[in-house]
Symmetry: C2
Subunit: 478 residues, 2 copies
């Protein structure tokens, strides 16, 4: 167990320094590496495999809801970016500019896409003519670039991987329904696959997407009580359609502007997985996205028949699960630590005595609970244990959030609660951006969202005392 201890010691305790713990996990679980490009990371095989699993789940949900994938150019001409005023104001300060092709200076600068509304709009203007062409339900998987000042792996990087959906609809009602539907897809991904409970709501004007009429969000709470915006869905009205002159002939033969949405989720979700489920031994991954779901560790593998039996189990279980057999020369202790670091949901131990008794030992990653299972019952027991494991991950995250959610009906309380620990604070708001800024100044919190499920904490704004318009959940955020 010497090297297990050594490996565990090398990770900073999350209670000592959560930020350091996070970057330790990123590096030691081999999710990512730093790159020679400012603010950009290298997605290593294990980190990328998590993203591939997230992609598979989301892509199927997108296609099941009628969406089609496309691919737009990665560069956007400056004149195109400038067509929608709010949009360019929001993004121009943080884009990377291409000014030369080979040795030739370009007549117009091109930015590396920070998001692709403008390109989709330009294309839609070309291909949409009649209400019969609607809705257009497009999505693209790509990388985007935003020239961030301070970066952290997965959470905020200059380049990141994401998908961006862009849809066009005949009516505002349909577009709003799409905005809500896709937020629901993200919430489903987070809660039912990633085991991360999320708060669904609407962003205040201050926090919404540049150019959107409204931005819907799912907010996840990390282990340290900070919020992580984990997916957003925007309703644009017909603002972009007007700026890009997208029109269609309606059912009544009049020329109309379509109504638009966009929605995105990114490799940030890998950061959410780390900070929601991880512990001082490393990652803890939900089965649906774990690159390896079951690792088989042969015990006393030099003994006759052990490796053969382990390989047989691997072959059998591989029909249903992503299975790895580690028959390397490393010690059992080293292997246990290694796969705990990597967050593999189940460890299957198999030694000579187990084989003689027709059983094996399963160990859950989250709580190290052991199960002695008859080999002929494995295929019925594993799904049960994985289901319990998945539920336990969700429940732990849910309980953390419940413990760290408070209400405040006056400013002093809000400031005091925010000062005690990272948490969600439910409090009423008048709708004025000045109060958002005041709360940022005085309590260090920002508006996470106005939850769909509203409560009445008080009748007046927690900051200015004017009549309240909505309950906002406030908190510190990544």
């Amino acid at each position: 167990m010497a090297d297990q201890k050594k490996m565990v010691e090398a990770v900073t305790s999350m209670d000592v320094d959560f930020a350091k713990w996070y970057t330790d996990i990123v590096v030691k679980a081999e999710l990512a590496d730093y790159s020679p490009v400012r603010g950009c990371i290298i997605f290593r095989p294990y980190g990328y495999a998590i993203w591939e699993n997230i992609q598979k789940i989301l892509d199927k949900k997108f296609k099941d809801t009628g969406h089609e994938n496309v691919y737009m150019p990665m560069l956007i001409p400056e004149s195109l970016l400038q067509k929608e005023k709010d949009h360019v104001e929001g993004f121009a300060p943080e884009v990377a500019w291409v000014t030369h092709g080979g040795s030739e200076q370009l007549t117009e600068r091109l930015c590396v896409r920070p998001t692709s509304e403008t390109l989709f709009c330009e294309h839609y203007a070309n291909i949409v003519h009649s209400y019969r062409d609607l809705p257009k339900l497009y999505n693209q998987w790509c990388s985007v670039m935003r020239w961030e000042k301070t970066t952290r792996p997965f959470l905020r990087t200059s380049e990141f991987l994401w998908q961006e959906g862009h849809t066009l609809h005949e009516t505002a009602e349909e577009a709003i329904a799409e905005t809500e539907r896709m937020l629901g897809v993200y919430a489903d991904l987070c809660e039912n696959h990633l085991a991360i409970p999320v708060l669904k709501g609407i962003k205040t004007d201050k926090e919404k997407f540049a150019g959107a009429e409204s931005t819907y969000t799912i907010e996840a709470m990390m282990h340290d009580g900070k919020a992580l915006q984990s997916g957003t869905s925007h309703y644009f009205g017909d603002g972009f359609a007007k700026a890009f002159d997208i029109t269609f002939q309606g059912r009544d033969n009049t020329q109309q502007h379509p109504h638009q949405t966009s929605w995105g989720a990114s490799t940030r979700l890998i950061g959410a997985l780390i900070m929601t489920h991880g512990d001082n031994n490393g990652l803890v991954l939900p089965p649906d996205v774990a690159p390896v779901q079951i690792v088989i560790i042969p015990v006393a593998q030099h003994k006759e028949g052990v490796l053969e039996a382990a390989a047989g189990l691997r072959d059998k279980l591989s029909a249903t699960y992503r299975v790895k057999l580690d028959d390397s020369d490393n010690s059992a202790g080293w292997k246990y630590a290694e796969y705990e670091m990597k967050g593999v949901p189940l460890r299957l131990e198999l030694g000579p005595r187990d084989i003689a008794e027709g059983q094996c030992v399963l160990v859950r990653r989250d709580n190290r609970q052991k199960y002695f299972i008859k080999l002929d019952e494995l295929e019925t027991k594993i799904p049960e244990i994985l289901k319990e494991y998945q539920a336990a991950l969700f429940q732990k995250a849910y309980d953390n959030r419940a413990t760290r959610t408070h209400s405040a009906d006056n400013l002093d309380d809000l400031i005091r609660i925010a000062g005690e620990s990272n948490c969600y604070i439910k409090a009423m708001w008048c709708g004025d951006v000045a109060c958002e800024e005041a709360l940022k100044d005085k309590a260090g919190v920002s508006s996470r969202c106005m939850p769909f499920e509203q409560e009445t904490i008080a009748d007046t704004c927690v900051c200015c005392g004017k009549p309240a318009k909505a309950m906002v959940v406030w908190g510190k955020a990544y």
Copy 2:
């Protein structure tokens, strides 16, 4: 049939103007659209779906051969690009340069990756220390950018989608075996999935990848007799490893440089599909990559029971195939033309009389051959017909290549043959680049490759008469 005629007439005949026919197909089959970014195209849903199917096939082959996916940054610092001399000379003239982030001028220019050898090398130098860390078998799916002067959709665009494999090995032998193995994977994709026969061989020094010791290639012949380089695999020796200071401790405890490969295939393959199988009615797609494999067209669909029966068939066949039921109001003739344009392999017609007789009509896209099939035999007959169809596509392309392949043992013959039509010309070569340049000048042909399967056409170089070193296949290329 009026609109069918109209649609077909709108495509330029391939015999009149092959280049115009090609771009007509790209636009009318809705594969791609032009974009506001110079030399970049928009991959529309139907075109992107073909790429997704190619990706699925290749990605599985890569994983089955032990490769792992990663993702590197899209930008490369100028100093990194310059580390390997031949490489920077080859690529610097055609890269797009990022010079500004937001409003700030960068201290070092970054290029949008034209290929990622340099980033992989830098990463490998960090993570490879011992022979136990080898081999490294990485691949990445991404887009790359090369500032091309003249562009054509899929064939040559400033930005294109591809995969790039980068591997590192303990010995030269292993690296060469990998280079050959991955060329084999590409040939397998082309011949057994895309129904495109390919010539496998080695590029001359003049045509090899910038920085490679040798470049292996698969060359496909298009319907018009021109060649299309369809996938390449490069052996680098330890040149990059030395430039990037990648070392490992060998089995004998000495510090050594690993041996390296890279290999890539791109959305160019969509161009190959169009120009190998297409005809004057549109695309002709092989089943493995066709976004829709079977389109069901109800005949007299207003008659009772027709739509229900068609929907029933769709649901049944969807378990095995990608099926579309077109129950729109468009005429049958319009639908026939539409799905011929899109290259759907099988059209299934079902009308009241068919239903009464318990049968349907299947029509092959390539030759319009009709099959009257009993409904209860559909599930055994469809795979047979698709197999025949796939074989017929391959055979037609194979025959075209055979007809258009000639030999020349003297310069006059070579010039005459090259002047008569686009074709492959087998001829001997002395190994001197001056002769390659002379043949380009005099006959307008370039060296496609030195095929693995060598023949002896003569003893002397077709150009200069000096002793021959190899048989080269010469031709015009895209």
